[in-house]
């Protein structure tokens, strides 16, 4: 079976990096469902990304160093009365990989979709 060329990013991974950079702030990352909601809104999709697809991609990207993942302080979650969140952040490598992919394919669906929605 043909395997993906090392370093190549899948369309979903590019969208995750793109949305992740918009969602993360200086002191806070983003959690899985927040990302799924943002992906749905950005793509104007009918449904949220499937659990398996989303978390498999997040795990793979974390292993490749494109994202970092960290569980939030359990005490914080306890105070908020909800399960603790796993928070992701796009790394410098992730931002560089996204920029490189955009430079390679300026008319990629991601850019076209964002331009159509007035985001670019």
């Amino acid at each position: 079976m043909p395997r993906r060329r090392a370093g190549t990013l899948l369309p979903l991974e590019l969208r995750i990096l793109d949305c992740g950079l918009r969602l993360q702030t200086a002191d806070a990352g983003f959690h899985g469902f927040l990302l799924a909601s943002e992906l749905k809104d950005t793509d104007d999709a009918a449904s949220l990304t499937a659990h398996g697809t989303l978390y498999k991609a997040l795990g793979r990207m974390t292993e490749r160093g494109l994202l970092t993942a960290e569980w939030e302080d359990p005490a914080l979650a306890e105070r908020a009365g909800r399960p603790r969140r796993k928070l992701y952040r796009v790394t410098g490598d992730g931002a560089v990989a996204l920029a490189a992919a955009r430079a390679e394919e300026p008319a990629a669906p991601l850019a076209a979709a964002r331009a159509a929605r007035g985001l670019a």
């Binding site: 395997r3 969602l23 398996g52 969140r85």
Partner: protein, 245 residues
């Protein structure tokens, strides 16, 4: 919604809905036998996701269905993720008993389900041959050819299951063969089988209706069977090291 999701909703204790319990039961199943830390990580992450989705929905309907739909579409990825996690483990730490049971059990299940669908296709073909013998022409050329192609694909898939190296290709053939055979075989049966006609149309009040139990069972069954074989194909794809051996 984004701001609310980021800041967190007001604290409230609530009973998990049925869909959440089903999703978490599926997570427990596919993380079974994995190291505790890996399994707990995935379970906690899904529990958080489901909680956030419930809060974001804020009582709007359809959340349970959305959760189940997200789970169903992610099943192949979950199966692949599990396979990757097991392959990552040193041989001594692999969940041998569970792994052996699922390996042999899944091959057996694939063989039995594939054989059952092939038998269904052969039954449809026999009926078509009888019509040709009686009238000199088939009920529909496209249906006849498609049912034949689907059945042959199933038989090829069953043969490919015999060798571990070709098993994943066999599962792909079974998925494709099942989709074709169940679709066109059912079209054939609706024309040529009185029993199928009685079951199918007996539940329809005012003509064909996709919500009738027979229609939902038929097409839902087709989807489940194809998804089952697709998952097996993903789970059986040999790793790079296995393929090199």
């Amino acid at each position: 919604m984004t701001a609310a999701l980021r800041l967190g909703a007001p604290s409230r204790r609530r009973r998990p809905r049925r869909a959440e319990r089903i999703v978490l039961a599926w997570v427990r199943l596919y993380t079974r036998g994995l190291p505790d830390a890996v399994a707990a990580d995935r379970r906690d992450e899904l529990a958080s996701d489901l909680w956030e989705q419930e809060v974001a929905a804020d009582g709007r309907g359809g959340t349970g269905l959305s959760m189940l739909w997200r789970m169903a579409r992610g099943v192949p990825a979950d199966v692949a993720w599990r396979g990757d996690r097991i392959r990552d483990l040193p041989a001594a730490q692999r969940p041998e008993r569970w792994w052996r049971w699922t390996a042999s059990g899944s091959v057996l299940a694939a063989a039995l389900i594939g054989a059952a669908v092939a038998a269904y296709g052969i039954d449809a073909l026999v009926r078509i041959v009888r019509v040709i013998a009686a009238h000199g022409f088939p009920p529909s050329g496209l249906t006849t050819v498609s049912t034949g192609v689907g059945t042959v694909a199933l038989l090829c898939g069953l043969a490919l299951l015999l060798r571990a190296r070709t098993r994943w290709i066999g599962a792909l053939w079974l998925a494709a063969g099942s989709a074709i055979t169940l679709w066109f075989g059912t079209v054939t049966m609706l024309t040529l089988s009185v029993t199928t006609q009685a079951i199918y149309y007996g539940t329809l009040s005012y003509g064909p209706d996709w919500r009738s139990p027979a229609v939902l069972t038929a097409w839902g069954g087709l989807g489940v069977v194809v998804l089952f074989f697709a998952c097996l194909a993903i789970a059986w794809i040999p790793s790079r090291t296995e393929a090199a051996r």
